[in-house]
Amino acid sequence: MAEEVLRMQGITKIYPNGFMANKDVTFGIGANEIHALVGENGAGKTTLMKILFGMEDCQQGSIFINGKEERIANPLDAIAKGVGMVHQHFMLLPSLSVAENVTLGVEPMKNGLFDYEAAVKNTQEIADKYNFKVDATAKVSTLSVGQMQKVEILKALIKGAKILILDEPTAVLTPQETEELFEQLFNLRDSGVSVIFISHKLEEVMRICSKVTVLRHGECMGTYDTKDLDETKISRLMVGRDVVLKIEKEDPKPKEAILEIRNLKRFNSFGKAVIDGVTFTVHSGEVVGIAGVEGNGQSELSEVLAGLSDFASGDVILNGKSIKGLSVRQIRDKGMAYIAEDRMVEGVAGDMSIEMNIMADRFSKKNYKKNGMFVDARKIRKETQQLIKDFEISCDGPEQPVRMLSGGNIQKVVVAREFTSGANFILANQPTRGIDVGTAEMIRKTIVRKSREEGTCTVLISADLNEVLECSDRLLVMRKGKVVAAFPKANEVSEDTLGEYMLGIREMTPEQMEGLL
């Protein structure tokens, strides 16, 4: 084995809200090596890399660079010690030229002025050295995504990076651009730069990486030579449940269709299809789970269904009527309830009282008003108190501002509103993310109970495998804006199989999914 250039030893990171993102993780890479770091969303990859790059601190553990223990307090430290990071979301200044972006922070100077010519020259030199084809004088806003990524890599290289972290670099690239990137990574490796490659795409990992480290739920599952593994084995290491959760539930008795999605398409501002011809139907009395690696169109689908975003073509029929062009209010009146992905952004108004948050969707309705314009304070207070009791929200009273509650209790405020709005379609996007086990269980059980007893139809989008496998009746898998797999019984699907579809190792044909959508 080549000498080790980086070693992260026993890293433990606990976030202030108590979430343990890394649990005693040990991770090392050698010189001239492209090393893959793989794991599901929330497995702790990005946290680990942020610790290495000085953007987060950790409670325990130490970092050795070239055998010497180093303390990395901030990104500047990291850069000084030869660590460079290319973030998933580019940190570029579109209105500036490539040379200006690359040299920002280490600008060449002449006579006290910024020496643009030297910046161009330096940029061009380093680009030529590693065989990157970019025009140093071009404006970044005119570049393609692939070229922007090269600029990001050059930014790290010009500062002398010997360890380069790439966070899901191929997620935004076309196949051709990906090929080019790989060529460049090989060049970098051969000229002495070690690359940490974070990815979900196992075929890429197998192709370019010599070693792979797998994280799962914040723990390190080991480091392997890629030649000893295949994609299926990696997928099994990545995808798994620590504790298998069981929810007792009767078989669903799906009745009439409530939500029909037909060939739905939506494009982002770059013209890329983020929802690419999705078709499925959800019936009264069933829970349809949508699994998938994050960023494969689930959030965009949820925005469309909640009425927060328009779509390009296709249609969404809710209770017999298309939602095209309707306002959120109108869609909610047609029977939609929405548990938002990020509760502090779309789920609550933090400074407002619990009462206003619980009643936010209904206080302006007729039966909550008196004399036309006044809110019926007594009725609202009575119902709020009842809901606080029903949902066991621990608080000082209905007047307390929501931001003072714990994460779990804030989510209870959200579900107290959405579960009681009288809707027959519940759109639940990551309903239990980052909250305590007890509340999570209550929310999951309520979703199932409502479908059985009240005949609601539910679309459950979740990155939590336990949740999606146990709560759902039918299960769909989304990848690259498409539904790539459908299973009739979620609790009979093994996580290994699910992982293979989520990660694109396998894909179902339309015929196989026939009748399941």
Partner: protein, 362 residues
């Protein structure tokens, strides 16, 4: 948990009081520094406003437009729009109701005249506020800049109306003819000579407070101001509500202008905009956009202003220094970081203490 809430509430009051105290201290320091007779001047500044019933009455009279303009800015501030059009609405509404009043003359009884003119003032305000509000809603134009530019335009318009349509040539200054008695609000409280406009102002404090806290529109407005994305996601029409709030704020500024003319003037004689719109912002900031607290903010501001006036007439200090003090007050009350370290330490301590006692009881 309960304790945290208490600390937050107490600290909010402490912050405002500390901000006011610091600003007041600065005011006193200025007086001491520049006055030839500092002891007398400081005494005048602090106690002067209460030295005669007449002066107490002046505080109340001055607080009337502050209250109404403060309520107006509560609407703008509630939906987080610094729409400053109230400044010129105040002037033009005063101008137009004088014009209408002169045209009607004494033919209507006061009980009809006053409400009629208030309604006209409100309409003028809503119409004027419509311009920046619609530009904000449809064009996403900067509402602060637009409203400030419009203020300059509207002030000139009011001046034009005064000069060409109602100027009394028989007086030495630029002013309208004397308004009919039916629109001059009577004095109450005998010696204090308080105009009955204060009753109008208090009625509106009650109405606006009810609107904010008891009606569905008020709830919507507060939710939109607190988190517009959330408001959209639960089905509120965020743009429409913030538009409507700006119109309502404009209408109140119109009411304020109309009330001020009827309460304190016999002629319309403003030849430049009066600054009441900005005073309203100060009151709304002091009241933390809560209409119930607006009278307190308005009375405080009026007290300080009268204090400055007293000092001005009885000493060598120009009353403009008070505007510096006002600036300091806004900054201190609005500064998030002012005393926030102190607050966080308190909260941290109480949470620690709670944990300790929880451990102890186990």
């Amino acid at each position: 948990m309960k304790k945290t809430q208490q600390i937050e509430a107490i600290m909010e009051v402490v912050r405002i009081v500390a901000g006011l105290a610091i600003a007041y201290l600065v005011a006193l320091l200025i007086l001491v520094a520049i006055s030839k007779d500092p002891v007398f001047i400081v005494r005048q500044f602090i106690l002067g406003p209460f030295s005669s019933p007449r002066r107490i009455g002046s505080i109340i009279n001055l607080a009337v437009p502050f209250m109404l303009c403060g309520l107006s800015m509560c609407f703008m501030y509630a939906v987080n729009k610094f729409n400053l059009i109230g400044e010129s609405i105040f002037m033009l509404a005063g101008c137009i109701i004088t014009w209408v009043g002169l045209a009607i003359g004494n033919s209507l009884p006061m009980a009809v005249m006053v409400p009629l003119l208030l309604v006209i003032g409100a309409i003028v305000g809503a119409v004027l506020a419509f311009i920046p509000a619609i530009m904000d809603r449809k064009l996403n134009a900067n509402v602060v800049v637009v409203s400030l530019m419009l203020n300059a335009v509207i002030a000139q318009l009011a001046l034009y109306l005064l000069r060409y349509f109602m100027r009394d040539p028989g007086i030495s200054f630029i002013g309208s003819y004397e308004t009919p008695a039916s629109m001059q609000l009577p004095m109450i409280f005998g010696k204090m000579r308080v105009g009955s406009g204060v009753i109008i102002a208090l009625i509106f404090v009650v109405i606006v407070s009810i609107l904010f806290y008891k009606t569905s529109f008020g709830w919507k407005m507060r939710i939109v101001g607190s988190n517009p994305k959330f408001a959209t996601a639960v089905g509120l029409s965020t743009l429409g509500i913030s538009f409507a709030a700006q119109l309502a704020g404009g209408a109140l500024a119109g009411v304020a202008g109309a009330t001020e003319i009827m309460n304190s003037y016999k002629r319309f004689q403003w030849t430049a905009s009066t600054g009441h719109g900005f005073d309203g912002l100060l009151v709304a900031v002091l009241a933390k956009r809560n209409p119930i607290l607006v009278p307190i903010g308005a009375l405080f501001l009026a007290y300080v202003r009268i204090g400055a006036d007293v000092v001005n007439t009885s000493g060598d200090i120009p009353n403009e220094f008070i505007s510096v003090i006002q600036g300091i007050i806004i900054l201190l009350v609005a500064a998030e970081s002012f005393l926030s370290g102190f607050k966080n330490r308190l909260i941290y301590k109480s949470v620690q203490a709670e944990k300790e006692s929880a451990k102890g009881s186990k």
